[in-house]
């Protein structure tokens, strides 16, 4: 560490930084409107490409001068496609528009960009405080978040390295190159950073072990396998700000003494693969990766590896096997990856979010990070919240916020005046918690103690119409299919669990089933080789514990209390409410199960009915005559007139 070197690094980065600022300023001060469009996979899925095209067309047609700035994702899934229009001449602050379809885009281009009318009825909120329009920061979905990992997501163009650098990017790498590797590892430890890939292992400790490990040719791997259904934060980060992850990887490699790194991304994430690959090329061009980074003696080559998509390949040892070209199955640990990882070399493997937390920690200091979150879980947690909530999406919050705040304040609670029933946390192997747990703080240890886990950060909120037996069956169906088949408990045990749960949802439960579920679950948990099997029974264990009466109803009364399991429910029409002569339900029934009674009301042929529920939707609300019951034999007998010939 000699000062001459520091100067060289400062100089090399200074040039790049100056260029980035110059470009940023030119963009910012250009006296034209800027249209920021969210173009991550989520935005594109909701039609952002068409939105962009519509803007382009109208701008060209009308000869309007405005810049389109493609950005990543802000995490507000309920609002996609999201567009922010910054039109300084209009006198309005930058405005957040939600659900901007192509039609809306054309309208905004004409009326706002051209004529300066922001169309108040379509405004979601202003991006900064002002006197004209309420700011989005007044909404809890915005102001209760704390963004560290996703701070720049949705604001910068992931395809433009200068955008990231102008926002402070790669300054942490510069700082790292000017420090001792030990200092960096110490900073990660002092920050209290724990791995975001599920287990919550101390990142500083992991790096320290890897640094000390004997052997050359160490590897750093970024785990972006993200196989959990419903979890998409890693994809979003890679698509919205890949450079922050790359910067974190470079710092890690420098700290542990690695010169090769790999980003392991699912092949099902083509946009993420494309954007990370592009970002790596750009960083190489700027001398931020490659040999002699920023004039120092540190070399790093980063490759992208596209994973086969098997869920279990996210498990670190299976991931190595898969890169090595073998069947992706986990192996026993120890030896741990820090000693023998990829190709038996010392390897640090960290999750996307873990690595993306590193640059902010170095920039703002370990103490700053440590003060966010809780004593044993510092920093922020990112959840993808789906299911029965008003504002689903990606949320980054300080650790320690309660489930209640998260679900009811930040995500707007349960829609349609339904009651909260359960929340499943931690991906397919997470636990289902009932309302007694709403005051649980979200942090690694509290969630584990409650029987759930941080896991990947997947969170499914369920309302009163959800059957917990079916939920357990649904998750087991996933994990059972994803078992690699290597070890006895997981391979055969989860199959039995799934078969029993399936029987229960069909009303074929037997005495002794619940005990068997309990015993098997515990044995699979204790006996399995890897994390998949060790956690797969969690949904069964927790739902059995907190919703046992529902299981019992399925077995003893053949009744599904939530009226969800098809085999245990039936539809009929309340003849006191059914309107004579109305045909709404009959015309919509896909299997012609609706018949007309002698006094021109309706009945359901239970033999034919497939329980699709279409008739519920079709029946006009003023009659509201369709009833769903469980068990099915509660249906009153309504005689079907014999077919006239």
């Amino acid at each position: 560490m000699n000062p001459a070197n520091h100067k060289k690094i400062d100089q090399a980065f200074g040039t790049i930084h100056a260029e980035a600022l110059q470009r940023r300023n030119a963009f910012k001060t250009a006296p034209v409107p800027k249209i920021h469009i969210g173009m991550a996979t989520c935005g594109i899925a909701s039609g952002a490409l068409e939105t962009k095209k519509a803007f382009e067309e109208v701008l060209a047609e009308r000869n309007l001068d405005a810049r389109i700035h493609t950005v990543g994702c802000l995490g507000h899934c309920y609002a996609e496609p999201v567009v922010i229009i910054d039109h300084p001449d209009s006198g309005f602050p930058p405005i957040f528009y939600h659900e901007v379809t192509a039609g809306k885009a054309k309208m905004l281009a004409k009326l706002f960009i051209e004529e300066g009318d922001p169309r108040f009825e379509h405004v979601y909120g202003a991006m900064e405080a002002n006197d004209l329009i309420p700011s989005v920061m007044d909404f809890s979905r915005f102001n209760m978040e704390k963004r560290i990992v996703m701070e720049k997501c949705g604001y910068i163009d992931p395809e433009d390295i200068y955008d990231y650098i102008a926002e402070g990017g790669y300054a942490a790498l510069v700082k790292a190159l000017q420090s001792n590797p030990d200092e960096i590892i110490q900073a990660a430890q002092n920050a209290g950073l724990r791995g975001r890939g599920g287990a919550g292992f101390s990142t500083g400790r992991k790096w320290e072990l890897a640094q000390k490990a004997a052997g050359k040719d160490k590897f750093v791997i970024c785990n972006a396998d993200e196989g959990d259904p419903g979890a998409y934060m890693d994809r979003t980060i890679l698509e919205s700000n890949p450079h922050q992850v790359i910067e974190g990887m470079a710092i890690c490699a420098y700290a542990v003494g690695a010169s090769k790194a790999i980003v392991y991304v699912r092949a099902e994430y083509p946009l993420a693969v494309k954007l990370v690959t592009k970002a790596i090329r750009q960083a190489e061009e700027q001398g931020l990766l490659g040999s002699g980074i920023l004039g120092s003696s540190f070399n790093l080559e980063i490759d992208v590896f596209q994973g086969s998509g098997a869920f279990v390949c996210g498990e670190e040892t299976a991931l190595f096997r898969s890169i090595e070209g073998y069947r992706g199955t986990p192996r026993h640990r120890p030896p741990f990856p820090v000693e023998q990882g990829l190709w038996d070399r010392p390897t640090v493997i960290n999750n996307v979010k873990t690595l993306a937390s590193i640059p902010p920690i170095l920039n703002k200091g370990a103490d700053w990070y440590r003060n966010i979150g809780t004593e044993n879980s510092s920093g922020t947690a990112i959840f993808s919240i789906v299911g029965n909530v008003v504002h689903p999406g990606l949320v980054e919050i300080p650790m320690g916020v309660s489930l209640r705040t998260l679900i009811f304040d930040i995500c707007g609670g349960i829609p349609n005046n339904k009651k909260f029933k359960a929340v499943q946390i931690g991906g397919p192997s997470g636990g289902c918690l009932n309302e007694d747990f709403l005051d649980t703080p979200v942090d690694f240890d509290s969630l584990t103690a409650a029987g759930a886990m941080m896991g990947s950060g997947g969170m499914v909120v369920m309302d009163e119409d959800t059957c917990m037996v079916e939920v357990a069956r649904y998750f087991l169906d996933f994990t059972q299919h994803e078992s690699c088949g290597k070890c006895t408990f997981c391979r055969i045990g989860t199959h039995h669990l799934l078969k029993i749960l399936t029987r229960l949802t069909k009303g074929e439960g037997r005495e002794g089933d619940l005990e068997l579920l309990e015993v098997l679950s515990a044995d699979i948990k204790n006996g399995s080789l890897c994390g998949l099997g060790k956690t797969a029974p969690n949904p069964v264990i927790t739902s059995l514990k907190y919703f046992k009466d529902e299981y019992e109803a399925h077995i003893n009364e053949k009744r599904c209390p939530a009226l969800m399991c098809r085999a245990l429910t039936a539809f009929y029409f309340d003849l006191d409410l059914c309107a004579r002569g109305c045909d709404a339900c009959a015309t919509c029934c896909p299997v012609d199960a609706v018949f007309t009674t002698r006094n021109r009301k309706k009945g359901v042929d239970q033999e034919l009915c497939v329980k699709c529920g279409e008739c519920v939707v079709a029946c006009p609300p003023e009659y509201d005559a369709v009833r769903k019951v469980s068990p099915p034999d509660l249906v009153p007998i309504i005689e079907k007139p014999s077919e006239k010939t």
Binding site: R327, H481, S483, G485, T488, V519, L520, L529
Partner: protein, 212 residues
């Protein structure tokens, strides 16, 4: 030579040996299906060889533990037995138990373990799930019985050890996993000469030399 205490008996183990090997060498039987002496990376997949080690809160598989001086081990605790019985019952729930007509009869490891753990070969509580077909005859001279195979992987291991590569391989995934053979048309693979190391190591009667 580290001394360890197993079920209150002091034994001497070879430096660097696995706990399972050390016990077996000293006539302390621990049920096991997937371990072969000298393996560098035991697959630890059958989940049969559980023991409890003082200082560790959960049972561990003895095949992946290296002996340490003064290790205190229990092989017969209730927790250990529960896991072993459970693993065996699971294996038997996908097993066609027809010992009378099986070549492995009387030298079968499943029979031995069942006897040792004092449970019957026909599990009562678990349903049976068997695979089709009963016999796979893809290999030129080996018959494979999916409903006898415990997927221990020992056949692959010894084949690779003997020949540098293996004609046998795991195929499919999860519950469907079976042992399969690289086709003879696969140029990169050597041709099986019927050395029978796989047949000999199979702990059950899942690989049989076909009478040609």
């Amino acid at each position: 030579m580290p001394k360890i205490l197993v079920d209150d008996r002091e034994i001497e183990a070879e430096e660097g040996s696995t706990l399972l090997q050390a016990c077996l060498n000293n006539d302390i039987y621990i049920p096991n299906l997937c371990y072969v002496e000298g393996m560098q990376y035991p697959s630890s997949s059958c989940r049969m060889c559980f023991v409890e080690i003082k200082g560790q809160d959960k049972p561990v598989a003895a095949c992946v533990v290296t002996v340490r001086e003064n290790m205190v081990v229990k092989t017969e605790t209730e927790t250990v037995r529960r896991l072993q019985r459970s693993a065996l019952r699971l294996l038997l729930s996908v097993h066609r138990v027809d010992c009378k007509n099986c070549q492995a009869n009387k030298k079968c490891e499943l029979q031995r373990i069942a006897k040792f753990l004092k449970i019957g070969l026909k599990p009562k509580k678990l349903e049976q799930y068997l695979k089709e077909p009963e016999i796979v005859q893809e290999h030129p001279c080996l018959d494979y019985y999916p409903n006898r195979c415990v997927l221990c992987g020992k056949c692959l291991y010894v084949c690779r050890k003997q020949h540098g590569q293996s004609v046998l391989t795991f195929a499919k995934r999860g519950f469907e996993t079976i042992i399969s053979f690289y086709g003879q048309d696969d140029e990169s693979k050597f041709e099986c000469e019927g050395c029978t190391v796989c047949v000999d190591i199979c702990p059950v009667g899942a690989l049989i030399m076909r009478d040609l």
